[in-house]
Point group: C2
Chain length 248, copies 2
DNA sequence: CGGAAGGTTGACGAGCTTCAAGACAGGTGG
DNA sequence: CCACCTGTCTTGAAGCTCGTCAACCTTCCG
């Protein structure tokens, strides 16, 4: 089996948490390859209206999908951490409607041609299923975000996002849920949570003053997980991966 | 080929708008069957935490997924119109995190066993792909909802929802985008848009006074589509089905 | 006729935005 | 080494959107 890009063991790891993969399938995914590149912030990796023929695997750093209004206001609809294949859904709908950008200063991705992903799906139905399940799991997070911005106030929303990221980071092996690197600025948190940067700042301050959490040097430190989770109304069920991961 | 439930030609119609299906595949889907039932509002078809072994096809009426906070506040995360297979994603993640309920007074669904859907996927990779694409398309709508509740004010949000539903109804052959039946009460619109019922009422009144649209006898009538779409910042790209619907 | 459900309206307050300014840090050039 | 600049964080004050509470109205239906 030819060796692919070394970062893809992160991808196998993530898929295996949700789906059952045979050894053949694992090896097939590990043999994937693509163009590695570093992306600077505020530059679209893919932009709305484009038809793309690649998906982007996050090696290090953070990526995000942005929706944009005509007046320039932005809303982040998804945050992708290392190990995520963002734009996997574009394999099904290659015309993308959202901008994908770097969220952190240093973002390294691998661009994987749809051609190769499609070949894998044809050869191994189990891989197609794992990809499908991955898209659905992203949708589950998206549902939670709708609830978040729709029905929680700014403080709950913020607490909820930090809980979600903590759990996702931990599951991906990138830190503990109570302490993880988050190389983003407050403006971007505001864009993710649907508030203004000014208000974002006040909310973070208030949570710091209440002893819930602190952010220093791009690192989140949650001092009281239970209190934060309660304040957020956080229930990690929607991130639960290891359910009855049967094969079709 | 055994005849299945007659309503599934709506399903084939919808899938065919997004994906290319062979005649065999169409016939296979049409042979699907399940238990038809009528559901009254405020009763969970499936509830959070349950593990389900069926998906629900909407024959007539409206269904919705609800997220709920501990204090009882609700947020609708998806509205399903006739022809939608809601809970299709549960084929991949059978443990559901959201409540599925009737939105309209009279909702008729067909409960299709996962077993049968899975058998179809195994026998016809093209059907699996169409299902996958359907899930992704739902995710695309969900992204737009995040932008909606995150960055648009109540008036824009409302206008946006009526535009979206208009286009979806039209594509499904259930009316014109400027005139369609929407058998829901204002409380439910408020739950979908993340505002209070009182404010919902004021927004609808204001839009009526501005000559944008009216709702009478559960029927939406959009008097000035262009003005409404502009007020909403509506761009139907994210609902566009007929893109390069290639097969893998 | 009476009750229930949904729609409508007013008054008031809270949460969030907007505008504006200042503090602080890191990086650059003289 | 310091002056300066730029990006980020922080804070205050004023105002608007939206939520809350409460009441009343209309329609429908038994």
């Amino acid at each position: 089996m030819p060796r692919g890009h070394p970062a893809f063991d992160l991808f196998v790891r993530k898929l295996s948490q949700r789906s059952i993969l045979t050894e053949d399938e694992r090896q097939a995914i590990l043999s994937l390859n693509g163009r590695e590149m570093e992306v600077e912030p505020h530059r679209d990796i893919v932009g709305p209206g484009q038809v793309t023929d690649t998906s982007c695997f996050v090696v290090s750093g953070l990526a995000a999908r942005f929706g944009q209004l005509r007046d320039g206001r932005r809303q982040i609809t998804a945050i992708h951490i290392p190990g995520d294949m963002c734009d996997l859904y574009s394999l099904m709908l290659p015309k993308v409607e959202w901008a994908l950008q770097a969220l952190s200063a240093r973002l390294t991705i691998v661009k994987v041609p749809h051609r190769d992903l499609a070949a894998l799906c044809r050869a191994y139905p189990g891989i197609a299923e794992a990809f499908w399940r991955d898209c659905v799991a992203d949708g589950s997070i998206l549902s939670q975000w709708v609830v978040n911005v729709g029905r929680r106030d700014a403080r709950m929303r913020t607490a909820h996002l930090f809980c979600e990221l903590g759990v996702r980071m931990e599951k991906a092996g990138l830190g503990q849920r109570t302490r993880y690197r988050l190389p983003v600025v407050q403006v971007q948190l505001a864009d993710a949570l649907g508030v203004t940067p000014v208000h974002m700042n006040r909310v973070i301050r208030s949570m710091r003053e209440d002893g819930l959490m602190t952010i220093r040097a791009r690192e989140v430190h949650i001092s009281d997980w239970a209190a934060l989770a309660t304040a957020a109304g956080f229930d990690e069920g929607y991130l639960e991966l290891r359910q009855e991961a049967r094969r079709l």
